[in-house]
């Protein structure tokens, strides 16, 4: 049953110049749930995450080997269109990065770049914005502020807006690179609740340094160390009964 997995990576190797950042990574990420990636800094979590929608290729000097199947299609095939891939695999960054335009246009930005000019009517646009903001619980707060510049919102609202702006594109997978590290406890909680609500519809992959968070939100957990994937199991099992010594050291915080 290949479609039970959203993402399947096989023998994935990645180099930044001479430095090998990912070593023989094999991973299968199940559909429709939250998977977290944990590990010490510089272990390749973010790199692996960025492979899934190929944004890391922009930095140049990156060599990738192996195969990643997203929704049953190898994304390193020559016939893959990057805009289409990134449409299906959305990404939320560490620091909230709303575009410096209005809230309304932020939500519509993705849709506008993927559809021909003036193909979205005003009524449709209003509806899409309302729907997207409602599903991230921002509509009541922002319905009177749709024309404000998105960068003037609170950080928590900005991060939610970054999630909301993916939704009109109807992605299958949402990648999150430490989405809560710039937020306070309240904001973190709001984003986590949001992820739990949306998890049935979308596959979430979240990179986090916060092990409590990984434990709270994710169903499966992947531990990485120095570019290698050490352990991939259900979160509860990984935290209570880690198989590998390195995992056990890390989850019991013997090093950080």
């Amino acid at each position: 049953m290949p479609m039970n997995y959203s993402i399947e990576a096989e023998n994935l190797n990645l180099w930044y110049g001479d430095f090998q950042a990912l070593i023989d990574v094999n991973v299968k990420i199940p559909h429709g749930q939250i998977t977290s990636l944990i590990g010490p800094s510089g272990c390749g979590k973010s790199t692996l995450l960025r492979c899934f929608n190929r944004v890391n290729e922009r930095y140049g000097n990156v060599t990738t080997e192996g195969k990643i199947e997203v929704l049953g299609k190898n994304i390193y095939d020559t016939d893959v269109s990057l805009p289409e891939l990134r449409k299906a695999v959305g990404m939320v960054f560490q620091r909230p990065n709303p575009l410096p335009i209005s809230v309304y246009e932020n939500v519509l930005f993705g849709l506008r770049i993927h559809s021909p000019m003036r193909s979205i009517t005003r009524a449709e646009a209003d509806e899409i914005v309302e729907e997207a903001l409602t599903s991230v619980f921002l509509w009541t707060d922002l319905k009177d502020k749709l024309k404000t510049r998105a960068t003037s919102l609170q950080l928590e609202q900005q991060q939610k807006l970054c999630i909301a702006r993916l939704l009109p594109l109807k992605p299958k997978i949402i990648l999150m690179d430490e989405p809560c590290s710039a937020l306070d406890a309240k904001g973190t909680r709001a984003v986590e609740e949001l992820m739990e609500v949306l998890a049935g519809t979308y596959t979430f992959i979240i990179v986090t340094h916060n092990m409590a968070q990984a434990r709270r939100v994710s169903k499966e957990c992947i531990f990485m160390f120095l570019g290698e994937l050490i352990e991939h199991r259900e979160t509860q099992v990984l935290f209570t009964d880690p198989k590998h010594e390195k995992t056990s050291d890390y989850v019991h915080m013997r090093y950080g």
Binding site: R86, F109, I113
Partner: protein
């Protein structure tokens, strides 16, 4: 907040118009006085038809510099957005631009008058341009002195291009570099192509700065050209009588453009409230 921004923009726009008007008055006055004093020509030349050939010169120069500025902007976009930082062409061009950008404009003036004029005779023998001789007869009545195949014209054009291009390239590159990476990353991660990122996010953000840079470059070049015209070109034109007018006109335009560019920068700084930094 949006309201405050709008008011600021509005006020700055009004100030621009007022300054524009103020800058225009002395130019206009001098032009009129010059014509009134020219007793010989008074009957034949009204202020209006003296002004128009003068403006003609300015327009031609503005067109040329607009072309140079556009070329500079295209060049800067290519260097900054398409060539990798390690590319040797980029490094070479950037260092040349840095050198030219650092030279004060007085040196360009000296270069133009000194080097170019000393080759005027050579240019003449090559047949490309003609060097008009100073005449004592009534040819001064014809206001179109700045003929487009004279040495002066070519020198002015070359100076212009040499002065405008490096400044434009430098400012455009700095402006493009100042757009925060998260903005680009956000757009790329939503599936935008390179061109879409530029057109929808980067260019709207940097447009004012590029415009201001272009204006600044042009104002410097105009001032230098005004000095060249005011000091050195008498002997190379058929109508030295109109030179003060031209000098004032060019200098006035330079002043205006310089004021305009600083207002643009001010406008960019205040009205857009640090748009290149997404989270403040």
């Amino acid at each position: 907040m949006i309201c405050a921004e709008r008011i600021q923009t509005f006020v700055l726009q009004r100030i621009t118009f007022i300054l524009l008007g103020i800058a225009g008055i002395p130019v206009w006055n001098v032009l009129q006085k010059a014509d009134a004093a020219d007793t010989e020509a008074a009957s034949a030349v009204t202020p209006l038809n003296t002004l128009s050939p003068l403006l003609d010169d300015l327009y031609i120069l503005l067109l040329i510099s607009l072309f140079a500025i556009l070329l500079g902007i295209v060049c800067a976009f290519y260097l900054q957005e398409w060539l990798p930082q390690t590319n040797w062409t980029r490094r070479f061009i950037e260092s040349v631009v840095a050198v030219f950008d650092g030279i004060p404009s007085i040196c360009y003036g000296i270069l133009a008058t000194g080097i170019f004029f000393s080759y005027a005779g050579t240019l003449k023998t090559l047949g490309g341009v003609h060097v008009p001789q100073r005449t004592e007869d009534g040819s001064t009545l014809v206001p179109s002195v700045f003929e487009h195949d004279t040495v002066v014209f070519y020198i002015v054009v070359l100076t212009f291009i040499l002065m405008v291009m490096p400044v434009t390239i430098k400012t455009t590159q700095t402006a493009l570099g100042s757009v925060a990476t998260p903005i680009r990353e956000a757009a790329y991660a939503l599936g935008a192509s390179h061109w879409q990122v530029l057109r929808r996010q980067v260019i709207p953000l940097v447009f004012t700065r590029i415009l201001a840079g272009g204006c600044r470059a042009m104002s410097g070049a105009l001032a230098t050209v005004a000095l060249i015209i005011g000091i050195y070109t008498w002997q190379y034109t058929t109508d030295p009588g109109n030179m003060p007018n031209r000098f004032v006109l060019f200098f006035g335009s330079a002043l205006f453009l310089s004021i305009f560019s600083s207002i643009l920068i001010k406008l960019y700084a205040s009205a857009s409230a640090n748009p290149t930094h997404p989270t403040r």
